[in-house]
């Protein structure tokens, strides 16, 4: 997995709550058997005015000028700012894949849906939970005349921005280590092979019906 240590970049403010994974990456793109190729279809229904299908030339499609990511000042943004319950809905890991491939490294919101939150960490995308008021402040800063740059430091768990904006965030210790070191979680779990085997032996005596071939 890609390491995440610190990210400094422009903030794109997407002022909506309950952004679901069907919006992040619509279902027609889930027919792919690859992990890549989703960035161009991120927020497809909002981003383009014409309907999208996999395999088409997306550069030839009509962009929706009202959608925030199509605003020139947010080109190259690496930090996505949103409202409550970001990533609700399906378990599709295509959602963090699409966000990352578009170029975002961090999503900041007051809350995230559990499965999306979990999937993000597996791919080196950092979801950061800040308080409602901190998110409000960031929206105010990010929706001004020009785009603003913010730094997200995973080591210090601090966010700094313009007008002396600072905020700290919590993160689970295991996830933090995995991100900082870019660890292979499967490899890590396989270090517990003995414990898994011991569990199976014990459990097969307790509940043998679970282990019939």
């Amino acid at each position: 997995m890609q390491k995440f240590i610190k990210e400094t970049g422009l903030v794109a403010p997407l002022d909506r709550s309950n952004i679901d994974t069907d919006q992040i990456i619509p279902k027609q793109y889930l027919k792919s058997i690859k992990r890549t190729g989703f960035g161009v279809s991120l927020f497809d229904d909002w981003r383009y005015l014409d309907p999208g299908e996999p395999g088409m030339d997306h550069s030839a499609r009509r962009l929706n000028p009202e959608f925030v990511l199509n605003n020139k000042k947010f080109v190259g943004a690496t930090i996505l700012l949103a409202r409550d319950n970001f990533g609700c809905g399906s378990s599709r890991e295509h959602a963090p894949w699409a966000i990352l491939e578009y170029g975002f490294k961090v999503v900041i919101a007051p809350s995230f849906a559990d499965i999306f939150f979990n999937n993000s960490f597996k791919n080196g995308l950092l979801p950061v939970v800040l308080s409602e008021s901190e998110v409000d402040t960031l929206f105010e800063l990010a929706t001004g005349e020009t785009a603003v740059e913010v730094s997200v430091d995973l080591q210090t768990q601090q966010i700094t921005g313009p007008k002396s904006f600072t905020a700290s965030f919590d993160i689970d210790a295991f996830r933090r280590t995995c991100l900082l070191e870019g660890l292979d979680e499967i490899g890590l779990s396989l270090k517990d092979t003995d414990a898994i085997r011991a569990y199976e032996t014990r459990r097969a005596i307790e509940a043998p019906w679970l282990f019939r071939e």
Binding site: R16, S17, N18, D20, D22, Q23, P26, K27, Q28, L30, K31, S32, I33, K34, R35, D45, P51, P54, G55, R83, D84, N85, C88, G89, S90, S91, R92, E93, P96, S111, A113, D114, I115, N118, N119, K122, N123, D172, A173, F174, T177, E185, I186, S189, L190, D192, A195, I196, Y199, E200, R203, E206, A207, P208, W209, L210, F211, R212, E213
Partner: protein
């Protein structure tokens, strides 16, 4: 031992190791796979030269992407080459890794959350995971079941475990008795409307109370299925006699001495009387009426006697904005009566409502009637080949066809519109599925979540009606 909730017990019995950093390894008994979220996981496994840890735990089927017409013609007859490739890829992966699969056209195939319980592959006390958020369905059996992403699909294949952190305990107590003509779907929609789409985030929800106990096992599956729509990855119902009766004799269920021992163990799959919950929610089941969603997320729901809300009456600016945006997308006016919403299409199916009882409930309403002329399409998509066979044995297919419904082959179909079944832009659909997100059932489509009975009645009337008046 201190008093424990059902979730606590399931967690404890699957804990492999607790690590110092607060994370834990949890053992997975049953891993269900389908074509959409597994190809990249199998690829990862192959690239790392890893083998599945315990083959017999895995059971695969195709559901999200399959056509619901002419499945007997086989995979090679699927028009869309990307869909075909994805289905063929699962076939190949299952073959090369030796995973049991019910392929398209096999009567045992169908929606993964229908076939698990149908086969007895889902058992009380198990941990069940699948790369699909509606895996919570299986919690209806007192199993710890939740959706996972593709990285975790690979992790489970490779290690038979997941890295997890214990969730909080939430109990939703639905008092009873439920009113006449009120179904499991109405109970869960009303619950989500009450607690919100993020109400259960971070929690395992145990559904309890007379309003839940009185439901059939299939009804409980409908309730647990939509726990995720309230933000909770896990929905649970305690084991009772109905659970045991449902499981007995199914192909994967224990037999003989195993059955005796299993049922003894399953008797403990209830929360202890004095167990503590982090959150307690009470839903007055006696007040629930048939529900209809009017907006673009599953908390935007009201009763059939209700109205579309007026955003001007909401003080919270974020919520007001969300309602305004939803009404614009849905093409609805503030204060419009729910009964005045006209339907273009009707969809009866999905992992929420495609089981035999759902089809019986709908067929009872449409029997001898005709789908309204204004409805372009009304379709019934059974949850599995076996559900389809059972319905045909009971003559339900004839009831539906004679009323003007299309009778399809099993699959997820218009619930997420990955295959050819979808809404056109601006079309309103009465749908027994679980998500009314923008574009969920087709770009620009407008979904209204309802029970099978309400969908059936709407198909006949051409607009929403109170199905209780038809019973």
């Amino acid at each position: 031992m201190p008093s424990r909730t059902l979730y606590d017990k399931l967690w404890d019995s699957h804990l492999v190791t607790q690590r110092d950093d607060g994370s834990a390894l949890i053992y997975i008994d049953r891993h269900l796979l389908h074509e959409v979220t597994s190809p990249q996981a199998f690829e990862g496994l192959a690239l790392a030269e890893r083998e599945p840890w315990r083959l017999s735990s895995n059971l695969a089927t195709v559901d999200h992407n399959v056509p619901t017409e002419n499945q007997s013609a086989g995979v090679s007859a699927i028009d869309d080459p990307t869909s075909r490739l994805q289905i063929e890829t699962l076939d190949q992966n299952c073959e090369s890794f030796n995973v049991t699969q019910f392929k398209m056209g096999d009567p045992r195939a169908g929606i993964v959350h229908v076939i698990g319980p149908e086969q007895g592959a889902t058992l009380p006390g198990m941990t069940v995971v699948c790369g699909d958020s509606h895996t919570a369905t299986h919690g209806a059996f007192g199993a710890l079941a939740h959706g996972i992403g593709t990285s975790e699909v690979e992790h489970v294949l490779a290690t038979q475990c997941l890295v997890a952190k214990k969730m909080k305990n939430m109990r939703v107590t639905v008092t009873g008795p439920l009113g006449f003509g009120v179904t499991a779907k109405d109970v869960i929609l009303a619950t989500i409307a009450q607690i919100g789409t993020a109400g259960g985030t971070g929690c395992a929800i145990e559904f309890a109370g007379e309003g839940i106990q009185s439901l059939s096992i299939e009804g409980r599956m409908t309730v647990c299925n939509m726990a995720i729509e309230a933000g909770a990855r896990v929905g649970l119902v305690a084991v009772d006699e109905k659970t045991i009766e449902y499981v007995e004799g199914r192909p994967f269920a224990p037999r003989g001495e195993d059955w005796v021992r299993a049922t003894e163990a399953w008797a403990d799959l209830v929360s202890d009387l004095d167990a503590g919950f982090d959150y307690e929610i009470h839903v007055d089941g006696t007040l629930i009426e048939p529900q209809v969603s009017w907006g673009t997320n599953p908390e935007m729901v009201t009763g059939i006697s209700g109205h579309v809300p007026d955003p001007q009456l909401d003080d919270d600016p974020i919520r007001r904005g969300a309602i305004e945006r939803a009404l614009k997308y849905m093409g609805l006016e503030p204060n419009q009566p729910i009964g005045s919403i006209h339907l273009d299409r009707v969809f009866i199916g999905s992992c929420t409502n495609s089981r035999i009882e759902d089809l019986r409930e709908a067929a009872r309403i449409v029997d001898g009637k005709r789908v309204a002329d204004s409805v372009i399409q009304a379709m019934v998509v059974p949850g599995s080949g076996l559900v389809k066979e059972q319905a045909e044995e009971e003559g339900l297919d004839i009831v539906f066809r004679e009323a003007g419904f299309e009778w399809r082959d099993p699959g997820c179909s218009m619930c997420l519109a990955m295959n050819a079944d979808r809404l056109g832009p601006g079309e309103h659909c009465a749908s027994t599925s679980n998500r009314n997100f923008e574009g969920r059932q087709g770009a620009g489509g407008r979904s209204h979540l309802v029970s099978p009975a309400m969908a059936a009645a709407a198909a006949i009337a051409g607009h929403f009606v109170d199905v209780r008046e038809w019973l």
